[in-house]
């Protein structure tokens, strides 16, 4: 688990019909990093996540998780290498209780196994930070939106991953809730969790990330620290819809 990169994409491309979703994408995420990926709608952010996890197969290029070439691997096998993923639309199991939901990724939640202390610790941070009770019998479908979002993030952590891909965690949240999410993610990162976040909210991006990747039309448009990226005129244009 001590590879050079936690996650790496080399020259990855993908088309949908005539639409280019990813073109020659190169991405390296080091262990322990907290990386934000930004870009306008349709820039290919979610596709990039899907390609990294294997939900979509890349047409060309290679994907590595901890130096394992996983390009031909099915999603569930990639997950087992220590990756977790949340989706853009909140996806918890609405008909199951909170307790059951948290048990799905890790049936033996109560047992703190040897070698899993770090993962268990992170889960504890998340649950406490988000105020979720792991023995709660409330149906997930009855939770308010932000709690459902937090539940989805906690579920990912319940699988004890060392790298997580989080797609728009703060969408639809109030400022307070966003801040609380930011806080928890930062804490988790401080406990060694590699985090890749797709996010629109620049306030959020500024407050969590050091390094930002900008995607545009399936290509990596720019990569740099927050200050550089926010200062870049072209990036602003992309967001306003001028640049091509």
């Amino acid at each position: 688990m001590n590879g050079k990169f936690a996650l790496e994409a080399r020259n990855v491309s993908k088309h949908f019909g005539g639409v280019i979703a990813a073109s020659e994408v190169n991405l390296q995420v080091s262990p322990g990093e907290l990386r934000c990926i930004i870009g306008p709608n349709g820039a290919g952010k979610s596709t990039l996540f899907a390609l990294l996890c294997g939900i979509q197969r890349a047409e060309s290029g290679d994907i590595f998780i901890h130096e394992h070439n996983v390009t031909q691997m099915q999603p569930f096998k990639r997950i087992r290498l220590g990756v977790g993923l949340t989706f853009q639309t909140t996806r918890a199991f609405q008909d199951l209780s909170v307790r059951r939901n948290l048990a799905i990724p890790n049936p033996n939640l109560a047992v703190y196994k040897e070698g899993h202390q770090r993962g268990a610790k992170r889960l504890q941070i998340a649950l406490e930070g988000f105020g979720l009770d792991p023995s709660d019998d409330t149906r997930a479908g009855e939770l308010p939106h932000h709690k459902l979002q937090w539940l989805a993030i906690s579920m990912v952590l319940a699988g004890y991953p060392d790298t997580v891909l989080i797609d728009e965690p703060t969408a639809g949240m109030s400022r307070d809730e966003t801040d609380r999410t930011t806080e928890v993610l930062k804490q988790l990162n401080a406990h060694g969790l590699t985090i890749v976040v797709v996010e629109h909210d620049m306030h959020f991006v500024k407050s969590v990330a050091e390094k930002v990747t900008v995607l545009h039309q399936g290509r990596i448009f720019m990569e740099g620290n927050v200050a550089e990226v926010t200062a870049n005129e072209d990036v602003k244009k992309i967001y306003l819809g001028h640049a091509h």
Partner: protein, 348 residues
């Protein structure tokens, strides 16, 4: 350990978790056990017929309700097991191990066909709505094949497949020299149904069952927790095929007879109807619906009522319109408001 088992049985993955429910459950089981003492052999055998269909219905609930995969052709496994039993036990007629060998052979044959078929279906990642139609095609194929097996060229050992007229003279089940017939067959069915129900209830409350339920809710999400969903769907499919074969085996022992129409279009729809009327997301609901619907069908036809199909068809439409999650489930929830205290955690 035993408390773990109890918590699995009593878990909330099926309706009925309260104390009152379990008291009622035990009373109903006792009533069923006492029934033959009050009823003629004919009535006992009729109820045995309702009971023997239950595993098929349970298999449907497991596959459709809990796993989200609808099979319109589960009667194929019912039929394969029945025919395999007939061939094996028929050829070993006189040998008291014949029926046991027949049961094992029937289960194995069904599981094998289901395994191969499910591999085709799930690993090809066909779209969800195609699966019911593919299963239907399989069962029609089986019916067409079996229908033309009249004559001696279709003799397996000493047993004739019998074409459309069916296979006759299938031996009853026996252990040692004890043959299950009449009342004893009733108890045989009852015990098997009880075992199927309780063990399935444990299964759906277990981690395995929960993951299967999660697959039904959101396959992709479940996969991104590191589960091989296709392997699980495959396993559930085979398991439900085995349940269908249990019904098939009991059926051939009940009537000593099976025909290709058992795997035809009309039979194929029955388990789907039981599951949807009762409520496919509850094992118990399907059990109740199986018994009640079989009873209604029989009663209507015994009266020579030509409206039987119209009534059953309308019942289906009305159920789907007004009780979309199943009559039994929705009734249970309504009753549950009065009996269930806000559920305490049952463990786990």
């Amino acid at each position: 350990m035993s408390s773990k088992i109890l918590s699995l049985i009593g878990g909330d993955a099926d309706v009925g978790t309260s104390r009152i429910f379990w008291v009622g459950f035990v009373i109903v089981v006792i009533l069923f056990a006492l029934y033959p003492t009050q009823a003629s052999e004919f009535r006992a055998s009729n109820v045995a017929y309702y009971l023997l269909n239950i595993p098929l219905g349970l298999g449907m609930a497991l596959l459709w309700g809990y796993c989200g995969v609808l099979s319109f052709g589960h009667v194929a496994y019912f039929g394969i097991a029945g025919y395999a039993y007939g061939i094996i036990a028929g050829n070993m007629a006189g040998n008291s191990f014949g029926p046991i060998a027949g049961v094992l052979g029937g289960l194995l044959a069904s599981a094998l066909v289901a395994g191969i078929f499910a591999y085709f279906v799930f690993y090809a990642r066909v779209r969800e709505w195609i699966i019911p139609i593919l299963t239907l095609v399989l069962t029609l194929l089986l019916e067409t094949f079996l229908g033309q097996t009249a004559g001696y060229q279709w003799r397996v050992g000493s047993v004739l497949l019998g074409g459309y007229n069916g296979m006759t003279g299938i031996p009853s089940f026996q252990i040692g020299s004890f043959v299950f017939m009449g009342y004893s067959f009733y108890y045989f069915c009852m015990v098997i149904v009880l075992v199927c129900y309780v063990s399935l209830r444990m299964l759906v409350n277990s981690n395995f069952g929960q993951v299967v339920f999660a697959i039904q809710q959101d396959p992709l999400r479940t996969e991104t927790f590191g589960y091989d969903i296709r392997a699980r769907q495959w396993l559930v499919f085979v398991l439900s095929a085995i349940l269908a074969s249990v019904s098939g085996l009991l059926y051939v022992q009940w009537g000593n007879y099976i025909t290709p129409s058992q795997v035809g279009l009309l039979s194929a729809a029955l388990p789907v109807i039981w599951a949807s009327v009762g409520g496919r997301t509850s094992l118990l609901a399907v059990v109740i619906a199986t018994i009640v619907l079989n009873w209604v069908t029989f009663t209507l036809s015994a009266q020579g009522n030509q409206y039987a199909m119209v009534i059953i068809g309308s019942a289906l439409v009305i159920t789907m319109l007004f009780f979309p999650r199943g009559i039994v489930i929705m009734a249970a929830e309504w009753i549950g408001r009065f009996t269930n205290r806000p559920t305490k955690s049952t463990g786990g």
